[in-house]
């Protein structure tokens, strides 16, 4: 079999060492090896980028490159070309670290046997080829798995829909009367439908987590509302198991900066788990307070009177597909994805999650979420002004509907578009678009805090209105958009006032304006 000539790139600045290497190929079949010798790293990089090299023999001490850096640069220029480093006797440790950087092998100068070199090269090439192939297969497999999971989840929903439809048709007596026993069995069917449905959602959510497609919409929101929602939603499940489910929320718990749908999702997973692992006549409690360790965070805590988690497992339970191995746990536990999803969701919102437990004494899960701070948000607008005494203008953008009612879908869609557009209208350092501040009845309100006076505010509302008007995608159907602005007198900074106090004062004034706007809309819409 006639082989293609092996293209070897030798990067070596020492002429004597280069000659030695060249000598070693002399005994090879003529035409089977083509050796290119370069003495500078920069030349080597250019040569590698042109392609065609099968393997690199790399000296790690070059005039324009030294040590591990040479390996990194060679690897970056041609990621699939194997590199063998040439090193002196006293540098074996360095050579070993070069292998961690991606070098396939190392050879110690002066210890290379004539016949061994070509063989080492061929082995290195073969190893590299196999590794590249394995990597490609892995990438393919991950992608295949994601597509497969996504496809399967969708396909599972259709039959599940029919099961749900007909079970509820029977339950609602649309097909005739049922006796109590039949009704009880239907409840079991529907409970399982729900479980299957949430498993399908978990599967899809995990695919999104891994593809980095998790969408989180941070806003000023109430954690205690999310707790009430969760407790109401799961009260039935708790009662069915004879478990008391209660919440204990600190008075005047501050708003958090988080995604309300995601907080509910996190709490539902934690409380649902707590109910699952707590025996009859036990209790599950959701507790919320300002963190005693860091006053910038709220801690949400779920505790149960279940069997607890052994201390060495409190970290592992957040791993993907982790499932309790105890065989005496009744029945099914789900897919082992819930806590993994929780951890991702909490961390993406700037919080932390951990578990505390002593076997036999129940488990406690703690979640922290950052407290919403207007002072922190508007700081960029105020800090940019040297004097610290700036006029502040609040620009208000309102989206309403001619019909008085904006569907949730239309609302979500519109808000997204408007937010994007507003963000582009801002002076990035001087104006701050606040996250969603509250529900304001049937309208949707956006607030921009700008360090400018009345004239600046007027100009800005005009600019925004023009932009919004020219945007076909937003100006559609029944949607009405209006803008207005309100200016504050200069917020003066007292001589001895710290920047924190000053920001807090300014934030209070801005909050006052925001609250005012929201409540006037509520009155207008009779809510």
């Amino acid at each position: 079999m006639s082989e293609k000539a092996l293209q070897v790139l030798l990067v070596e600045d020492n002429a004597g060492d280069a000659r030695l290497v060249r000598e070693m190929f002399r005994s090879e079949k003529p035409g089977s090896v083509k050796l290119t010798h370069l003495s500078l790293m920069s030349e080597a990089v250019t040569h590698l980028e042109q392609g065609g090299v099968d393997i690199v023999l790399l000296d790690m001490g070059l005039p324009d490159g030294h040590g591990l850096d040479t390996v990194r640069r060679a690897h970056a220029a041609a990621p699939t070309v194997p590199v063998i480093v040439l090193t002196g006797l006293d540098d074996e440790a360095l050579a070993a670290s070069a292998m961690k950087e991606g070098a396939q092998d190392y050879l110690i100068k002066g210890q290379i046997e004539n016949r061994a070199l070509p063989r080492a090269l061929r082995h290195a090439i073969e190893r590299m080829r196999m590794q590249t192939e394995t990597d490609a297969i892995r990438t393919d497999q991950i992608q295949f798995k994601d597509e497969f999971l996504s496809h399967v989840s969708h396909e599972l929903r259709s039959p599940l829909t029919a099961i749900y439809q007909f079970a509820t048709i029977l339950q609602d007596r649309l097909a005739g009367e049922l006796n109590p026993e039949q009704l009880k069995y239907l409840e079991i069917v529907l409970r399982n439908v729900k479980q299957l449905q949430s498993m399908i959602n978990d599967l899809l959510e995990v695919t999104r987590v891994q593809a980095g497609k998790l969408v989180i919409d941070l806003q000023c929101t109430s954690a205690s509302d999310a707790i009430d929602y969760t407790v109401n939603t799961l009260q039935g499940a708790a009662e069915a198991k004879g478990i008391t489910l209660v919440s204990d929320i600190q008075n005047r718990l501050p708003q958090v900066c988080a995604d309300p749908i995601r907080i509910r999702q996190i709490l539902i997973i934690l409380v649902d788990n707590a109910i699952k692992f707590t025996p009859a006549s036990g209790s599950v409690k959701v507790h919320a307070r300002i963190s005693s360790e860091d006053p910038h965070f709220v801690v949400l805590e779920t505790s149960d009177t279940g069997r607890g988690i052994s201390p060495d497992m409190t970290e592992r339970i957040f791993e993907r597909l982790f499932r309790v191995s105890d065989s005496d746990l009744a029945g099914r536990q789900g897919l082992g994805l819930g806590l993994y999803i929780c951890k991702e969701l909490v961390e993406r919102q700037g919080g932390k999650i951990w578990a505390k437990s002593f076997p036999g004494q129940g488990a406690v899960f703690c979640v922290t979420l950052p407290i919403f701070s207007l002072a922190k948000l508007i700081a960029p607008a105020l800090r940019n002004e040297g004097s610290g005494e700036v006029p502040i203008t609040l620009v208000i953008i309102e989206i309403g509907s001619r019909t008085g009612w904006l569907s949730n879908e239309l609302r979500a869609e519109q808000c997204h578009g408007v937010r994007d557009l507003l963000q582009r209208c801002l002076h990035s350092n001087l104006d701050v678009l606040l996250p969603k501040m509250a529900f304001a009845g049937s309208a949707e309100l956006f607030f921009i805090v700008a360090a400018t006076d009345e004239i600046g505010g007027k100009a800005m509302t005009q600019r925004i209105l023009e932009q919004l008007g020219g945007c076909e995608h937003i100006q559609q159907r029944d949607v009405i958009i209006s803008t207005s602005y309100r200016s504050l007198e200069k917020v003066e900074r007292g001589e001895s006032e710290s920047i924190e106090d000053y920001l807090r004062k300014a934030a209070n004034r801005v909050q006052g304006l925001v609250d005012d706007e929201i409540s006037s809309r509520m009155v207008e819409h009779g809510q």
Binding site: H154, S158, Q165, R208, N408, L410, E413
Partner: protein
């Protein structure tokens, strides 16, 4: 006044059947189509008050159906509710943009489906109906 007419477009016969029983019990008249082509034909023939539309259909998908309906003046204004097994996150915005009033994820809770239908038809909500809190996909 007669019952409101709803066209159900879904390629799964069981889902169509189940939907029919549920809607009939709530005093709606139902008509059916199982693919993209016949859904437009059926809409022309029946001129329904509302269309419940699946996205995954033979001979085109729900988006194609919406596009075709928009081109027929007598059908362009019929409210459409998309009910699909497809991922809400990836399809909700697209469906709304294509002209749907709402996107509901299968399996849809009965009370939620009926509430959205009533809103789309401009009918008053039922006193026992839950407020639909859905602000987007979970």
């Amino acid at each position: 006044m007669g019952n409101k007419k709803i066209l159900i477009v879904d390629d799964d016969p069981d889902v169509r059947h189940g939907m029919h029983i549920r809607l009939k019990a709530n005093h709606y008249d139902t008509f059916f189509a199982a693919d993209a082509v016949s859904s437009v034909t059926e809409a022309r023939k029946q001129e329904p008050d509302l269309i419940i539309l699946d996205l995954g259909l033979p001979a085109g998908d729900g988006f194609v159906v919406m596009e075709r309906l928009k081109k027929v003046p007598s059908l362009a204004l019929i409210p459409i509710i998309v009910v699909s097994a497809r991922d809400a996150r990836a399809n909700r915005a697209r469906a709304i943009k294509a002209g749907a009033m709402a996107f509901l994820q299968k399996p849809v809770d009965n009370a939620e489906l009926l509430a959205v239908i009533r809103r789309a038809l401009g009918e008053p909500a039922q006193p026992t109906e839950p407020v639909v809190h859905d602000l987007g996909p979970i």
